[in-house]
């Protein structure tokens, strides 16, 4: 089945130690998104790629960066995780052009010690 895959499902890192979360898709969608979701809060968009074009949200901290080496893969890099970065990180994909649903992966739960 076509899907969005996130690895790992659970990630534990230490305060200040860089961490990378990965996302892959078999849907061949040209748009990929990264969201941060804290407990009982709305998913908050960090950035998205429209093909190779990177679009950062204005309030996304510089600590968060992303790479998309090809259509299928996208990475979220947290350069120096703080305790406040502990959250569920969701990757999603969609077709471009508006009026399209987003397909979400299962998420990666990040714990910062």
């Amino acid at each position: 089945d076509a899907m969005v895959i996130q690895n790992p499902r659970y990630q534990v890192t230490q305060f200040g130690k860089p961490v990378t979360l990965s996302c892959s898709q078999t849907l061949n969608h040209n748009v990929m998104y990264w969201y941060q979701q804290k407990s009982s809060q709305a998913p908050k968009l960090l950035f998205h790629y429209y093909d190779k074009d990177f679009n950062n949200e204005a309030d996304t901290p510089d600590n968060f960066q992303s790479r998309r080496p090809n259509t299928s893969f996208c990475f979220l890099d947290i350069r120096s995780p703080g305790l406040g970065d502990a959250a569920m990180y969701l990757c999603a994909t969609s077709r471009s052009g508006g009026y399209n649903e987003q397909f979400f992966g299962p998420g990666t739960r990040l714990t910062v010690l």
Binding site: S40, S94, G98, Y99
Partner: protein, 114 residues
């Protein structure tokens, strides 16, 4: 800035009844609105999309309405079942870059009691 409010954090209803969830928004006129279901520890799953020129959309036991004058969407689940228990998220289109950017509400946690 855009603001989305979903009527309550939690809603409990009896099995077989109709659940009605509310999504209100301000400071924006979205071209469309989407509803998603999210189970604990999982990613959201798309349910329905309704466009600004559509009043109502149905899918099996689900119905969504969209009132652009009131800036409100209602999400109904008829003949509710315990398996419908989940958090339901409302999301507004942002569509700024040709992508399908969404602005999500915090969700309503629905519990269907057997």
């Amino acid at each position: 800035s855009q603001k989305i409010e979903q009527n309550s954090e939690a809603l409990n209803i009896q099995e077989g009844k109709t659940a009605t969830l509310t999504c209100n928004y301000t400071n924006y006129s979205p071209a469309y609105l989407q509803w998603y279901r999210q189970d604990p520890g999982r990613g959201p799953v798309f349910l329905l999309l309704i466009r600004e020129n559509e009043k109502e959309k149905r899918k099996e036991r689900l119905k969504v309405t969209f009132d652009t004058t009131l800036k409100q969407s209602l999400f109904h689940i008829t003949a509710s079942q315990p398996a419908d228990s989940a958090t339901y998220l409302c999301a507004l289109d942002r569509s700024e870059t040709g992508a399908n950017n969404l602005f999500f509400g915090t969700g309503t946690r629905l519990t269907v009691i057997p």
